[in-house]
Amino acid sequence: MLTLLEILVYGAVQSAVYALLAIGFSLIFGVAGVVNLAHTGFYMVGAYLIYTFFSVLGLNLYFSLILAVGLTGVLGMLVQQFCIKPLIKSEYSVMIITVALAMFFQEVLLSTYGPVDRNLTNFYDATYKLFGLVTIDAQRLITLIVAIILIAFLWFFIKHTRFGRAIQAVAQDNEGAIFVGISPNRVYLQVIFISAALAAIAGALIAPTLGARPHMWEHPLVRVFICVVLGGLGSFEGTILAAVIIGYTEVIVSFCLSSYLGELVAFAIILFVLTVRPTGLMGKRAVS
């Protein structure tokens, strides 16, 4: 019984982390058709920025968060405007240039901060026992709660606000959107701001547990790519579903087999799903 509860809780935390990271990636693909492999680069930049403001300069936590997230969002817009937009006609080129950008961020951070892990202080230091049985620390509990709130908020935002509907319009029909007076380019910029900001929030939440290092963008990128493609490109719900599957797979394999087999099982699941459903779990957008 305890094991089940633990799997439930830890799986939820892991899934929430992946979902938070993957959502932004999914958003920019769904809207602009852009595979932004610099997404986890934003996650890393966000983590380092909040490290600088909160842990090094000692600014107020909320202020540091807003500053770090805002700056990362602006970085995202710059990347979109100057690096992605010129190459938008070629899928491969966008993927390569964004990966090169991520490496570039890595090197800049490496030269500035050095290769050693940086410690981000927990937002709050405490340990809890959920349901009286499951031990969890404050930082991860906060991550879980914040992730759920943000995702719910974003879902509502996209489905029910005017701005959200503009995003949907551009995603569904680029030219049609122009006809009704929506500027796709403006929407791309706004969406990438949100996407990068989400990645930065994820960085700020997760990095205290892991530490910040210049290569921290590599491993999550793989996970994010998996979640988004597996879920079906352009499908918000699909991404979340995939994140849940991958997150729970890892935790269940850890509990029942051995943690290092998690990747193997995840990859096997991916191959299986793609064989059976070639456009992912909930993919609606046909990729040409």
Binding site: V35, S93, A100, F104, Q106, L261, A268, L274
Partner: protein
Amino acid sequence: MKQISYTADQISLPPSPLHWKRFRPHMVAVCLLLLVPLFIKSTYVIDLLILCNIYAMFLSSWDLLTGYTGQISFGHSLFIGSGAYTAGILSFYFQVPILITVPLGGVVAALFGLLLGIPCLRLKGPYLALATFAASGVLAALTAVFWEYSGGEDGLYGIASVSANYVVKYYWSLSLMIVICGFLLFLVNSQYGLILQSIREDESAAEASGINVTRYKLITFVLSGFLAGIAGAFYSHTQMHVGTDQFSLHLSIMVVLMSVVGGLGTIVGPIVAGFLLILLNEWLRVIEVVRVLIYSFSVVLILLFIPKGIVPTVISGIQKGIEKMKSPARS
């Protein structure tokens, strides 16, 4: 007869596919490469060129699958690694000679090509990219699970060497490269290449005009795998080592990156970019500290200014130059 040539992102229609005049620049390059050891004595540079030759095989075999047939593969390391590990295991445990391990490496990789090709038939774009990457990931994870046989992340070491003499090694790598890349050039300029490109451009139209798309896709997966596997097996014999790096995503991404920079769908483009980027990477070692920074920045710049890739841009630039010279009166 007027010569029609298109750049790489359109279908290339060779006027007379294998007319030797078209391959003059290629032959010059090969001659230069053959003569290198006469002029360059530095073992270090020779070793670098061996690596360039091997990567030329990795990249051109990938271009066949992705550039020509449009099957985006982010898992080329699957083929390279299976060839490398086949050679490694045969050499380490059974002392099988190189002349056997290398072809066998190709065969094993070809088998994986078939295994991978079947589920990938229905996949396109990023889904295909993910599936190919997941496949190489499965094998990478398996080397960790069966660490007692595969050597885990240490890999297998002490594998038979091609030769202790670097010049001999160089000529072996060059011969292999000429055979494999030459074969690929021959292939893509033939009817087969035309069919692949029509599949890339519009699969349903190709199917409708009577092409058995499934058969050609599978053949290409197998062929791409076979050639990359041979190169991978040869690689492990030059390094005297095989490890999980040969199944890594990093290797797959390098293949993609170098080929895109060189120009997809040209065979020659990836080879040229491979040589340039490997040499650039080593040359930048002088400034070790900012090496990756400059390297990644260079790639960004190249893509922004030469999005079609180096070789197609250079070729069309030369052609435009020739046209301008031929008809200066027209403005």
